[in-house]
C-alpha cells in the first residue's frame, strides 16, 4: 500500500510548483517541498470536512512514508488520522479490544513509518475529498502564498 495522488491533484499543484516535479510552477513565492506536503494539505481538508470519497482511478503513487515538511509533525498527523479513522468507523469510544483491532489494521506491523491498508486507504480518500473541495473553492491560483492564505480560510471558524 502507498499514498496516492490523483492526476488532477498533481496537475493542480504542479501549476503552482512542487520541488522534484518535472514541470516548472508559476509561483513567485516558492514551491511546495514535496508531493506528500501537498497530499497532507488536501487530506486535512478532507478530514476537516469528513469527506472520504473513493479514490479516482486516474492516479499515481507518491510515497509510502510521511515526507517533506510534514515529517516534523508526523506523530501529530498520525494521531489525528487514527482518531478521525476511529471516529469515522464509529469506534472511538469503544473498548480497547476494538481500538486495538483498528490500530492493527491502521498501522503497519513491520515499520513504524508506514501504515496498514486501512491507514493508507483512509488518508488517500481524505486527500481526494480535500482536493475536490480545494479545486472547487481555490481556483485560478498560481502562487503558493495566495494558495495558502485562501487555504487557511477553509478552516475559518
Amino acid at each position: 500500500m502507498v499514498f496516492w495522488l490523483s492526476t488532477d491533484t498533481r496537475k493542480y499543484f504542479d501549476k503552482i510548483g512542487v520541488k522534484g516535479s518535472q514541470k516548472e510552477g508559476k509561483s513567485e513565492t516558492g514551491n511546495f517541498e514535496s508531493y506528500f506536503d501537498v497530499f497532507w494539505l488536501c487530506a486535512q481538508v478532507g478530514i476537516h470536512r469528513e469527506e472520504y470519497p473513493p479514490l479516482s482511478p486516474d492516479k499515481s503513487q507518491i510515497t509510502k512514508r510521511v515526507s517533506g515538511n510534514s515529517k516534523e509533525v508526523r506523530l501529530q498527523l498520525l494521531g489525528l488520522a487514527f482518531y478521525k479513522y476511529c471516529k469515522y468507523e464509529g469506534v472511538k469510544d469503544s473498548k480497547k479490544e476494538i481500538i486495538l483491532g483498528k490500530m492493527e489494521s491502521f498501522f503497519d506491523k513491520e515499520s513504524e513509518y508506514e501504515l496498514g491498508k486501512e491507514g493508507y486507504d483512509f488518508l488517500n480518500r481524505a486527500a481526494e475529498g480535500g482536493f475536490l473541495h480545494i479545486s472547487k473553492n481555490i481556483i485560478d491560483i498560481n502562487d503558493k502564498s495566495q494558495f495558502l492564505t485562501k487555504y487557511k480560510d477553509i478552516f475559518k471558524r
Partner: protein, 714 residues
C-alpha cells in the same frame, strides 16, 4: 598689404642666468652679428637655463609691454612688471651681483626695414624703458611701424599664437574672449580690404582737406561719385556691367537675408528640440533612479514574502493548528487509550484470556497447538512496531504545543500586505516604463534635429559662399555680360578694383552710408567733423567686415584643425568653434566640451595659421618646449608642417625634447633642414648661479642630454 617680419637676433645682458648672450646664428664662428637664418633653428637648452625668459622677452618686444614674470627682488616677490623681475641673481650676501642695469635687444626686419628694439632695465629704480632704432633714428620709446603696431601692440593673446609657451598655451582657450578674435580679424582681414581703398587712417596722414581725395578714391572704386566727365572716360561696357552686377548683388543680398533669416529660424528650432531632448534625458534619469528604487523594493519584498510564505506553510501543515478546536478531544482520546493500556498489555491480556478460557473470540475451542502458537507470539503483541508508533503518538499528545493558528492569521495578513505592496510597486514601475513614449519621442526629436541641422549647415554654407566668394561670381557674371567678348578681361581701373575687392556688397554699404553722412554734414565747413564722420562710418563698416570674415576664419581654422596631425579621429568628434564666447570646443551635437592638451595645442596652431593666411602675414614661430602635449607619434608631422608653414622658426627645446625631436625626424633631416645651437651652463657663477653660454658647436649640441645639461665632460 602684407606684413613680413623676420627675427634677426636676440641679445641679453645681465638678465636672469645670462651674462652676455647673443642669440644670433653665426654662419661663421666669431661673427656675433650675423642674422638668424630662415628655416628652423633649434636651440637645445637644459631645464632652468632660461628658455621661458628668452621667450617672454621676445614676446615683450613684440607687444611693447613687459610680460609678467616672477620678481626675484624682495619685497616684490610676486608677478609684477617691475624691472627687477628680470634682474640677474643676487649673490649670497643679498647684494646685487650685476650692474644696476640690464638690457634686452631684439633685432627685426619688418617689410625689409631694419629695427632694433631694446628694453633697458633700471634695477635701482625698478623701472624699465624702451628704445627703438630705425632708419628714422633713435627714439626712447617702443615705436615699430604702424602695420606692426596695429596688429601686435598690447595684444598678448594674439602673440601667444606665434610666440608660444606651450606649457601655458591653454590659457588662450581659457582666457579667450571676443576681443582677441574681433581685433585680430579686423587687423588681419577687414582693415586691409578697406585700407586698400581709403588709405591709412592714421591721424598723421589724414589731414584736413583730404576728404575729397578719400571720396574720390571711393568713387574710383565704385563709380558712385563719378562726374559726367569722368563717367565718359569709363568704358560703357564696364558701367553697364557694374550696374547689372549691382542689381544682381541686391538680389543676392535679399536672398542672403532670407537665408540668414531661415538659418536663424532653424537655429531656434534646433535649440528648442535640443532643450526638449535634454528635458527628456533629465526625466529619463529621474525615472531610472525611481525604477532602481522600485526594483530594489520589489526584490526585497519578494524575499520577505517567500520567507513568510514558508512560515505559513509550516504552520498550516501542522494539524494542531488546523484542528485547534478538536485537539483537546483528540488528545483525550489518545490519553484514554494509554490509560486503558492500548497498546501496552492489551494484546497480552487478550491472548492470555483466550489461553485461559481455551475459547477463541470466534467461539472455537483452542487446541494445544493453537495455545502453543499463541504463547510463542505473545511478545509480538507486547512489543511490535504498531504498538511503538501508537505509544509515540500518545507521548506526543502530552507534549502537544499550544495552537499557533493566530500566528497564521497574522502571517496571512502580512503576506497579503506584501503582495499588495509588490503589486503596487510593479504597477508604478510599469506606469513609469510600460510604454516608453518618451524614448520614442526622443528618437523622433533627435532625427528631426539631425535633419534640421543638415539643412541649416547647407544654408550656412551657401551664406558663407555668397558672402565671401561673391567676387568670383562677379567675375563670372562679368564674363557673361560680354566683358571678355574679345577674349580678354578689360583692364580698366574700375575692373581691377572690382577684382581686388573681396566684398562688393560691403563696399557698396560703406559708400552709401558715407554718402548719407556727408550729405548730412554738408554746410559744416570744418574738415575735422567730416573726418570724424568718415572714421565712424568706416568703423561701423568694419564691424560688418569682421562678422563676415569671422565666418571665413572660423572655416579656415577648422579646415586646418581637421587636417592637422594629432587630431585625426578626434576631429570627427569635435568641432572648433569661434563664436561669440570666443574659441570653444563642441561635440558633434553642438554641446560645449573640453579638448585634450594636444587638441588645445593644435587648435591654437590652427587659429594662428588661419589668421596668418587671411592677413598675408609672415611672422616667425618661436616655441618654448613646443612639443608639450603632443603625442610622440605626431611630432614628425607637426614639425614638418610647421617647417613648411613658417618661413622662420626658433624652437627652444629641453634635453628630453631634443631626443624626441631626433627620434622623430632623424639626424639626417635635422642636419639638412635645421640650424642647431646649444645654450648650456659652462660654469657655475661665483654667486652659485649658472652662467649660460651660447654655441653652435654641433658636438656640444649632441652632448646635451638628461635634465642636468651637457654631460660627458663638456
Amino acid at each position: 598689404m602684407g606684413l613680413n617680419i623676420k627675427l634677426l637676433s636676440v641679445s641679453l645682458r645681465n638678465i636672469r642666468s645670462f651674462g652676455e648672450m647673443d642669440f644670433s646664428f653665426p654662419p661663421m664662428k666669431g661673427d656675433l652679428h650675423s642674422d638668424l637664418p630662415n628655416g628652423m633653428t633649434i636651440a637645445a637648452m637644459p631645464n632652468g637655463s632660461g628658455k621661458t625668459t628668452v621667450l617672454n622677452l621676445i614676446k615683450s618686444a613684440f607687444i611693447g609691454k613687459m610680460v609678467k614674470e616672477k620678481c626675484v627682488d624682495p619685497p616684490c616677490n610676486t608677478k609684477c612688471y617691475c624691472a627687477n623681475s628680470l634682474r640677474r641673481r643676487m649673490n649670497k650676501n643679498g647684494k646685487s651681483f650685476s650692474d644696476d642695469t640690464s638690457e634686452f635687444t631684439m633685432r627685426l626686419k619688418i617689410n625689409n626695414e631694419h629695427y632694433n628694439v631694446s628694453m633697458i632695465l633700471n634695477h635701482r629704480d625698478k623701472e624699465y624703458f624702451w628704445k627703438t632704432q630705425s632708419k628714422k633714428g633713435n627714439e626712447k620709446r617702443w615705436n615699430l611701424p604702424f602695420e606692426f603696431r596695429r596688429i601686435f601692440y598690447n595684444n598678448e593673446k594674439l602673440i601667444d599664437l606665434f610666440i608660444v609657451d606651450a606649457e601655458t598655451r591653454t590659457k588662450i582657450f581659457t582666457d579667450s574672449d571676443n576681443d582677441l578674435i574681433e581685433k585680430s580679424i579686423r587687423q588681419f582681414g577687414g582693415l586691409e580690404t578697406v585700407y586698400n581703398l581709403l588709405g591709412e587712417p592714421s591721424m598723421g596722414q589724414w589731414k584736413g582737406g583730404q576728404l575729397e581725395e578719400i571720396k574720390s578714391k571711393i568713387s574710383q572704386t565704385t563709380g558712385s561719385y563719378l562726374s559726367d566727365n569722368e563717367k565718359g572716360r569709363i568704358h560703357k561696357r564696364d558701367t553697364n556691367c557694374i550696374k547689372e552686377v549691382r542689381i544682381r548683388i541686391s538680389e543676392n543680398e535679399i536672398k542672403l537675408r532670407e537665408w540668414e533669416k531661415e538659418s536663424k529660424q532653424m537655429g531656434t528650432k534646433i535649440s528648442q528640440i535640443q532643450s526638449r531632448i535634454e528635458k527628456i534625458d533629465d526625466e529619463q534619469t529621474a525615472k531610472n533612479k525611481k525604477s532602481k528604487n522600485l526594483r530594489d523594493d520589489i526584490e526585497e519584498n519578494k524575499d520577505l514574502l517567500e520567507q513568510q510564505t514558508k512560515k505559513l506553510e509550516l504552520l498550516l501543515i501542522n494539524p494542531i493548528n488546523i484542528f485547534e478546536e478538536e485537539w483537546r478531544e483528540i488528545q483525550d482520546f489518545h490519553l484514554k487509550q494509554k490509560e486503558d493500556g492500548v497498546p501496552g498489555d492489551a494484546g497480552r491480556e487478550f491472548v492470555r484470556k483466550i489461553i485461559k478460557d481455551k475459547i477463541c473470540i470466534c467461539d472455537t475451542k483452542v487446541t494445544e497447538e493453537m495455545e502453543k502458537n499463541l504463547k510463542r507470539k505473545l511478545p509480538e503483541y507486547i512489543d511490535n512496531t504498531t504498538s511503538r508508533v501508537v505509544k509515540s503518538i500518545q507521548d506526543s499528545m502530552i507534549e502537544s504545543e499550544i495552537s499557533q493558528l493566530d500566528s497564521a492569521k497574522v502571517l496571512s495578513g502580512e503576506i497579503k500586505d506584501l503582495r499588495s505592496k509588490i503589486r503596487q510597486d510593479k504597477f508604478d514601475y510599469d506606469e513609469t516604463f510600460g510604454e516608453n513614449d518618451a524614448g520614442q519621442e526622443r528618437g523622433l526629436l533627435y532625427e528631426e534635429k539631425m535633419r534640421l541641422t543638415g539643412i541649416k549647415e547647407g544654408i550656412d554654407y551657401d551664406i558663407t559662399w555668397f558672402s565671401t566668394q561673391s567676387f568670383r561670381w562677379l567675375i563670372d557674371e562679368g564674363k557673361d555680360e560680354g566683358l571678355d567678348s574679345m577674349g580678354t578681361v578689360p583692364k580698366t581701373p574700375m575692373w581691377k578694383e572690382i577684382q581686388k575687392c573681396e566684398n562688393i556688397p560691403l563696399l557698396r554699404s560703406i559708400e552709401e552710408r558715407l554718402e548719407e553722412r556727408l550729405q548730412k554734414a554738408s554746410g559744416e565747413s570744418t574738415t575735422y567733423n567730416g573726418l570724424k564722420i568718415m572714421r565712424k562710418v568706416v568703423g561701423e563698416a568694419l564691424l560688418t567686415v569682421s562678422e563676415k570674415l569671422r565666418n571665413q576664419i572660423s572655416i579656415d581654422t577648422n579646415n586646418i584643425w581637421k587636417n592637422s596631425p594629432a587630431i585625426a579621429k578626434e576631429s570627427e568628434l569635435l568641432v572648433l568653434k569661434i563664436g561669440e564666447r570666443g574659441i570653444t570646443f563642441e561635440d558633434r551635437y553642438g554641446r560645449p566640451t573640453a579638448g585634450s592638451g594636444a587638441q588645445t595645442m593644435i587648435a591654437c596652431y590652427s587659429l594662428g595659421a588661419a589668421l596668418v593666411k587671411r592677413g598675408n602675414l609672415k611672422v616667425p614661430l618661436v616655441g618654448d618646449t613646443p612639443l608639450t602635449g603632443l603625442d610622440t607619434d605626431v611630432v614628425e608631422k607637426w614639425s614638418k608642417e610647421s617647417y613648411e608653414r613658417y618661413e622662420q622658426s626658433l624652437l627652444l627645446l629641453n634635453a628630453s625634447e631634443k631626443s624626441i625631436f631626433i627620434d622623430a625626424l632623424g639626424e639626417q633631416w635635422l642636419a639638412r633642414n635645421t640650424n642647431r645651437i646649444v645654450i648650456w651652463p659652462e660654469k657655475m657663477a661665483s654667486d652659485g648661479g649658472k652662467e649660460m653660454v651660447y654655441s653652435d658647436d654641433i658636438d656640444l649640441w649632441n652632448k646635451l642630454q638628461g635634465n642636468s645639461g651637457v654631460g660627458g665632460g663638456v
